[in-house]
């Protein structure tokens, strides 16, 4: 029992911040994010999935949390269109960011869920198209199309270009 508990604590410590960031951009409310994370880590704790590597663990947690976010959005439609400027935490979230970075965050923030989720997983978390598709339970073709639409939408708003070469 002690080992299970310490593993759970280690997993929460290691992955909760990453999951919090992803889910907060989608759900836009810390209380809702807490509910989703509670459900996600509870699933990890009770289901005890067979995990082959740390990368697999991370992908498993992201997949479950994305499923929970999707259920949440379907049930609570109010979250789908709140702009970044209209939430209480705006100042805190953009604190220290350059104007360009704030603009970029705002653009990503204002995308709908379908486009936002692929942008977060592909451009921010660095997953491949196939990995992104698997996590979101969509086809690779659908993932590619959504990324294309996201790029088009963001470039329309952001003349200097959405992304930069590493």
């Amino acid at each position: 029992m002690a080992n299970v508990s310490s593993d759970l604590e280690a997993v929460i410590n290691k992955y909760s911040d990453m999951l919090y960031k992803i889910c907060f951009v989608i759900l836009k409310d810390e209380h809702d994010v807490k509910d989703v994370l509670q459900e996600t880590f509870l699933a990890y704790h009770t289901k005890n999935p067979i995990i082959q590597s740390e990368e697999h663990k991370k992908a498993w947690l992201i997949k479950v949390s994305q499923n929970k976010c999707r259920e949440f959005l379907r049930f609570h439609k109010r979250h789908s269109t709140v702009p970044l400027d209209n939430i209480d935490e705006t100042t805190l979230i953009t604190n220290g960011l350059s104007g360009e970075e704030s603009d970029l965050l705002s653009l990503v923030w204002n995308l709908n869920y379908k486009l936002k989720s692929v942008v977060i997983l592909y451009y921010i978390e660095g997953y491949s198209i196939d990995e992104t598709a698997r996590i979101l339970s969509i086809s690779s073709h659908a993932a590619k199309k959504r990324l294309e639409r996201a790029r088009k939408k963001l470039k329309q708003e952001y003349e200097e270009g959405l992304v930069y070469e590493k």
């Binding site: 508990s5 759970l8 604590e9 929460i12 410590n13 909760s16 911040d17 919090y20 960031k21 907060f24 951009v25 810390e30 209380h31 809702d32 807490k34 509910d35 989703v36 994370l37 509670q38 459900e39 880590f41 509870l42 699933a43 704790h45 009770t46 289901k47 005890n48 999935p49 498993w60 997949k63 479950v64 499923n67 929970k68 259920e71 949440f72 379907r74 049930f75 609570h76 805190l92 979230i93 953009t94 604190n95 960011l97 970075e101 704030s102 970029l104 965050l105 990503v108 709908n112 379908k114 486009l115 451009y123 921010i124 959504r146 639409r149 939408k153 959405l162 992304v163 070469e165 590493k166």
Partner: protein, 288 residues
């Protein structure tokens, strides 16, 4: 070289130590999230579902009435057991919920047996066993075990009656899941729904359904009758579709090994953009 977005833009979005601690404590206690979306009051839901089923008036094909009559006969404790099972699902991957996959023989027999189940009202001699712990089940039976949320199948191929238990379990769980979703205002989607999308006569959806049925009959020689579930959804500009379309999924309810038809119909002129028939492996069946 690939494009990326600097994670720095999310650097101020951080989970607090207090929230981490709350989540850890909540998990240790097995506490569910505060939002009702994630909470099913098992006993209450069982009562609601049994009451809802008994009030439902049925006006569909005889086979569905027979299936619904079977469901209406479920006791409160049986509904509660399925609600618990649905409640514990994380929907990560179907494979994770079963001790093994079906063999080729089982898949072939299940396709015949599920038509007998859904269309002809042929049911198993007994229900699939539900146990709290793994110790309670025998190796050669088909059983759901609550402690690890797993359906255990015997090592050898299931008999026809065991397959019918498996089909029966899938149908009941799916139906309880659907009632939960509908109670929360969520429409059951592809692979879950047991009934076709309700469409108004003369609506765009209705016309799209007619186009799809005629196409499938012509291209595959299959008559889409009442035994099929026809799901139709409209996707317009708000869904990032450049061309508004009606998207249709058509299948017979079952374990998911049957063929599924996908048709996309343009909303402006009802011409067909895409049609295909996929088997459960995702392979495309050729046209007639």
């Amino acid at each position: 070289m690939r494009n990326s977005i600097d994670k720095r833009i999310l650097s101020n979005i951080e989970i607090s130590d207090q929230m981490k601690q709350d989540i850890l404590e909540g998990c240790k206690e097995g506490a569910r999230a505060g939002d009702i979306k994630f909470r099913y009051s098992t006993a209450l839901m069982a009562v609601i579902l049994v009451a809802a089923f008994s009030l439902t008036t049925v006006s569909v094909s005889a086979a569905v009435i027979t299936f619904k009559q079977r469901l209406q006969g479920m006791s409160e404790s049986e509904v509660a057991a399925y609600t618990t099972e649905v409640d514990k699902d994380t929907f990560v991957s179907l494979d994770e919920g079963f001790s093994r996959g079906l063999s080729k023989s089982e898949i072939e027999r299940s396709l015949v047996l599920e038509r007998k189940y859904y269309d002809d009202g042929i049911f198993p001699e007994k229900e699939m066993a539900h146990y709290k712990t793994n110790d309670e089940r025998a190796d050669d039976e088909v059983a759901y075990v609550e402690e690890d949320n797993m359906v255990y199948l015997p090592a050898d191929d299931m008999s026809d009656d065991q397959l019918l238990q498996y089909i029966d379990h899938d149908a009941k769980k799916r139906y309880v899941n659907i009632q939960n979703l509908e109670a929360e205002g969520v429409e059951p989607g592809r692979g879950v729904a047991l009934e076709s999308t309700k469409v108004e006569e003369g609506s765009g959806e209705s016309k799209a359904v007619d186009v799809a049925k005629k196409l499938i009959e012509k291209s595959y020689g299959v008559d889409i009758d009442d035994s099929y579930v026809v799901l139709v959804s409209y996707f317009g500009e708000e869904d990032d579709e450049e061309i508004p379309v009606y998207n249709l999924f058509i299948y017979q309810p079952g374990l998911g090994y049957g063929d599924e038809y996908n048709v996309r119909v343009k909303a402006d002129d009802f011409s067909v953009m895409y049609s295909g028939c996929h088997n459960y492996k995702g392979e495309v069946k050729p046209l007639n």
